[in-house]
């Protein structure tokens, strides 16, 4: 159900009257800590349309999860604060929306699943109760009907013997099955957007593929927009339509998944790609990006990536690069993106 004619990669402000399903626009999030203000997200923009999958890539601390939590409206405020930016859903800003209107969207129209399904599921309620709660609370369904719907959903996410397991507790399931339960809960009310925050990080490799396959399949069936947050590029290559790479609270590159993987336009993306183990390069030393992720309390001057960057030149230390337009579907926040791009296509 993809619509390739719509250009979804430009910033929303630049589009003419064609508002995407969900658009994050120049979002800033900061945390008040004892040591000072931590700017976790600094002007992030991305968008997703129905049926589209956006992969948000980055190391921990890059701000990718915080952005997702800001979209959901589940940040603890305080200590978090959103000084600037918009999150538009069908063109309406969620951040300025009254609480009860936003409550109508959260969980029903925009849903989210988390990394560690064991801790993300309540240990003292049965899985059927937790899935059924969506129907009971949001649709006023009776207990018995909600339980029946829970079984249906468990079948839909392929939990074997759903009927007999609906009254089990989360800890009685395996890791993969628990993540399926999380997914069942999230898709219960047919959301238009599903945000998956590192959905497979805690799982075995074989299970990872199954879960990614399930997500892709569910998306096809219902035409959801899917935001897939991960630090693992290998996981998303098959399912994503486009990628947004985050570093130090900013987007450093956005591209279609094809362009991004073929020839990255930012040295950080390049580094990430080169650190994926590849069968065809067996025997070669695995590349690792040197240095540490930036300290959010003490960001490097200029380009945040410069201390770790092999393309660094003098002005990188002083001038923060804007998001340069690489092509009409692509952006890179690197002064020297041309060089990076050239290296990549060789």
């Amino acid at each position: 159900m993809k619509n390739p004619s719509v250009d979804t990669h430009l910033l929303p402000a630049e589009r003419a009257g064609d508002e995407p399903l969900l658009a994050v626009d120049n979002l800033h999030v900061e945390f008040q800590t004892r040591q000072g203000v931590v700017r976790a997200v600094n002007g992030v923009s991305y968008s997703v349309d129905a049926g589209e999958t956006l992969a948000v890539l980055g190391e921990s601390g890059s701000g990718k999860s915080v952005t997702a939590q800001a979209i959901m409206g589940i940040l603890d405020m305080p200590p978090a604060r959103i000084p600037k930016g918009e999150v538009r859903f069908h063109g309406t800003d969620l951040l300025t929306m009254p609480d009860d209107a936003r409550g109508q969207i959260r969980g029903r129209r925009i849903a989210m699943i988390f990394q560690d399904a064991l801790s993300a599921l309540n240990p003292v309620f049965t899985v059927g109760w937790q899935i059924g709660e969506m129907f009971r609370v949001h649709q006023g369904m009776s207990k018995r009907d909600a339980r029946r719907k829970a079984v249906e959903l468990m079948d839909r996410v392929r939990i074997p013997g759903a009927k007999s397991r609906v009254d089990d507790f989360p800890h009685q399931f395996s890791g993969g099955m628990r993540q399926r339960i999380m997914i069942a809960m999230a898709i219960a009310l047919d959301p238009e957007i599903l945000i998956a925050d590192e959905p497979t990080t805690a799982l075995d490799v074989t299970v990872q593929a199954q879960i990614m396959g399930l997500l892709a399949e569910l998306q096809q069936e219902s035409d959801m927009g899917l935001i897939l947050i991960t630090h693992d590029l290998g996981v998303v290559a098959d399912v994503a339509d486009k990628i947004a790479v985050m570093y130090g609270g900013r987007i450093v590159e956005n591209a279609s998944v094809f362009d991004g993987y073929r020839a990255p336009a930012h040295p950080y993306t390049k580094g990430l790609l080169e650190s994926i183990p590849r069968v065809d390069l067996k025997g070669q030393e695995l590349y690792a990006i040197k240095g540490m992720p930036p300290n959010l309390l003490d960001m490097p001057t200029g380009c945040a990536f410069h201390p770790r960057c092999p393309y660094r030149k003098e002005n990188c230390v002083t001038d923060a690069p804007p998001l340069y337009t690489v092509s009409d579907t692509r952006g890179s926040a690197c002064h020297y993106w041309r060089e990076v791009l050239d290296d990549g296509s060789n």
Partner: protein
């Protein structure tokens, strides 16, 4: 769950045997001849002494004496004092008084402790939270010995003198339920402080849990997140604490009962210590320790009912 219950019950047996033996040995292995002590300064007729030694198995080895003692206790016979009064007759009516006192304290504890703790946790870091913590610090620091006499003076005497209000009886149990209010509050003091702190940390920890974030992301209202998702989880340790505390309160009632002149088991214990009736002292302490151990056991089983993670271990 059945396996868990059986295992827990089996674990309790060596503890019970060990504990009762320890109590028994403490009294009978230590210096001092109980029969001689009975006579005070006078010398007793040697024939009488040997007959009494026989009757109380005092000539047998400690382990044999312990066996007789356990056998008697299991058949409900706590023996007789050296003066010939059955120990169990001294218990009559007294356990009810102590039990009622402990229950009153438990009610205060549950209402005030849980209430203050939840309130503080929801206002974490603000002045209300700081104030609650300061109050618990004070409560922990005031021994029963002090709070008992102070409340007796303030509520029982000064209040009556200055305002004519005579609502709080502070001695005896003639006023029925009302008699237990002030002593119950005094007995609960320390526990209120502990429970307040426990409630506060428990709820704060629960609110940090990932599944709370999930509930919010599911679009549940703040009310429902707190009332359904957080409360159930944070109440588990509180209920177990309260259950175990019933045993502690009954065992710790001795000073409160002495101050407020309540004819409970603690006061009996105090009098028996004073009169050096060791059989009575051991009997009472054994029973109270049994209550304590059983309360803990029941709480462990309750835990399994409340927390499914243990139930299916």
């Amino acid at each position: 769950m059945g396996r868990y219950v059986i295992r827990r019950l089996l674990q309790a047996i060596p503890v019970l045997v060990g504990t009762t033996f320890l109590l028994f040995a403490t009294v009978y292995a230590l210096p001092g001849d109980p029969i001689a002590a009975l006579g005070g300064d006078r010398r007793l007729d040697p024939q009488l002494v040997s007959r009494m030694r026989e009757q109380f198995h005092l000539n047998d080895p400690l382990l044999v004496q312990y066996w007789y003692y356990i056998r008697d206790i299991l058949s409900g016979d706590f023996g007789t004092t050296f003066r010939g009064v059955p120990v169990s007759s001294l218990f009559e009516g007294k356990f009810q008084v102590t039990f009622q006192l402990a229950i009153t304290a438990l009610v205060f504890e549950a209402i005030i402790g849980v209430g203050l703790g939840l309130w503080a946790a929801l206002r974490r870091g603000r002045w209300q939270d700081q104030a609650v913590l300061a109050v618990t610090l004070l409560l922990v620091s005031i021994p029963t010995l002090v709070s008992g006499f102070v409340l007796q003076l303030v509520l029982g005497v000064k209040l009556k003198q200055n305002t004519g209000v005579d609502f709080f009886p502070v001695a005896g149990i003639q006023d029925g339920m009302r008699s237990y209010i002030v002593p119950g509050l005094v007995l609960a003091g320390l526990s209120i402080a502990y429970l307040t702190r426990l409630t506060r940390t428990s709820l704060m920890e629960t609110l940090r849990a990932d599944y709370i974030r999930t509930a919010v992301a599911k679009g549940m209202s703040r009310r429902r997140v707190l009332g359904r998702h957080a409360l159930r989880n944070s109440l588990i340790p509180l209920i177990t604490y309260l259950g175990a505390d019933l045993g502690t309160l009954m065992g710790g009632a001795i000073i409160t009962e002495t101050i407020f002149n309540l004819p409970g088991i603690g006061q009996q214990l105090f009098q028996s210590v004073y009169l050096r009736e060791n059989a009575v002292v051991v009997g009472i302490v054994t029973v109270l320790v049994l209550v304590y151990v059983l309360a803990n056991l029941i709480v462990d089983l309750l835990y399994a009912v409340l927390d499914p993670r243990i139930r299916y271990e």
